[in-house]
Symmetry: C2
Subunit: 308 residues, 2 copies
Amino acid sequence: MVKVTLLAGGVGGAKMAEGLAALDDVDLTIIGNVADDEVFHGLWVSPDIDTVTYTLADLIDRKQGWGVSDDGMRALGILEALGQPIWMTLGDKDLGLHIYRTMRRAQGDRPSQIAHDVARALNIKPRIVLPTDDRVQTRLLTDDGELSFQEYFVREKCVPEVSGLWFEGIGDARPTPEALDVIDRSDLFVIAPSNPLVSIDPILAVPGLQDAIVHTHKPVVAVSPLIAGKTVKGPAAKMMSGLGMEPTALGIARHYQGFVDRLVIDDQDAGFVEAIEALGIAVSATDILMPNAERKAALASQVLEFAA
Amino acid sequence: MVKVTLLAGGVGGAKMAEGLAALDDVDLTIIGNVADDEVFHGLWVSPDIDTVTYTLADLIDRKQGWGVSDDGMRALGILEALGQPIWMTLGDKDLGLHIYRTMRRAQGDRPSQIAHDVARALNIKPRIVLPTDDRVQTRLLTDDGELSFQEYFVREKCVPEVSGLWFEGIGDARPTPEALDVIDRSDLFVIAPSNPLVSIDPILAVPGLQDAIVHTHKPVVAVSPLIAGKTVKGPAAKMMSGLGMEPTALGIARHYQGFVDRLVIDDQDAGFVEAIEALGIAVSATDILMPNAERKAALASQVLEFAA
């Protein structure tokens, strides 16, 4: 068994997790992102963790890539009638989980224990680990003012130009013992094809967490979230441009330089191979789109082979 | 306009409220019961207030008499999968209201302000007033141990024998300014055909509230919740027996003696008229069942005439 630790955001991260979870010889742990967590209607919503959880529990709405399949909007309809803003689409089943999480948090339980218990209750085999139990929130400076990630992504539909980005609370955040433990026992680290700026960076920015990975001296292989300069889903390319980064596989390589030793990019980006190798990063070019279960598992296999 | 204050519990109280609300010349305020409030999954549920609210907003599930019509159970299904007890049937729409209430309470808003805002948002014309903003909870001593009212009523389906009953927190409860104000301006008080022990008594037991009604010297007319020794809905008759009270219209009269000056009973209980009058309570016997809107309004009219 290869002990694989996947650092993952939302939709792209969940696809990579599914691919790795489908392999017999992989003992998988996912360290997810909590920096786009936000409180809606008094309930603690953890969009990236939930997308990974719903995907691995096979509850995910596969058309959308997020949310729960066959969900309803009855609770949200009442909240709207009561004058609440409802731009964050929270289905009834989804709210069931948020109600549970909020109750457990109010009881003083650690967020990582709650995420673990949810995954177990939903019969998820891989471990889902939080990078920190402390409050960290991605904040964006835009031409429309300061926004949380959900405000930018969902409410404003990524229209505002992003010129600054920081993780509120990151200085005081402590890594969870579970994250440090799994890192210590890991044979290999995979960086999912998630938004590096708002999904992967806030995991690595938890003080001590990236160092812990580096100190294992185990391979760190990233999968590019960009294909031909575009993101499969989400605003990564647009945000990279806004923050002065080249929105290409090479830009991704530069961003992860010094931490990642292997990068898997798409065939369409094969022109960047030399430039990426010049950064001291080994490259594998392949078809990295994951439209179905077969392709997810196939890419996961290739990532493992490349890292071996 | 006659300013009517209705003291009401859940289903029976909501029917009486609907009847009074249908009359053109009535300016109606309902003082509801909060002593069977209970927290489920971290959410503050207020079953009696909600039944009145949903009924007057025409959102009520009219087959059940409680809950919201066309509701779903998606959130509860997830809560069940997460190991939560789900004996309290909370639909998705219903949960929307509980989420809102819990959020407002956590923000420090007074429960009576929240109830008022909900009623206004749902376009309810009568005022819905809480007797107290403090925590009061009906506790029952049964042969199955100490239970809250919801545990007894919903979870245990009224099977345990009740031998004792008290209102936890009642000594420290203060009446709301809204309740005292509406009592002061009221022309007439109506006691709905609700369970006297667990719906009406915990309203009247809020220190100062019953005194405030008495001091107005305005008529107080009660409608019996029993017909031929049986309750239309709920455990009133069984509970009265368990606590040593006669479960009849006469038992109701004895319970309210000294406070109520008029009692409306069912035709079937006309045999009790003399005995009730002997207690100093005027009696009107009529058909008090309220199976539809016409009968609700008709009974409300008769109550007003009788009180005039």
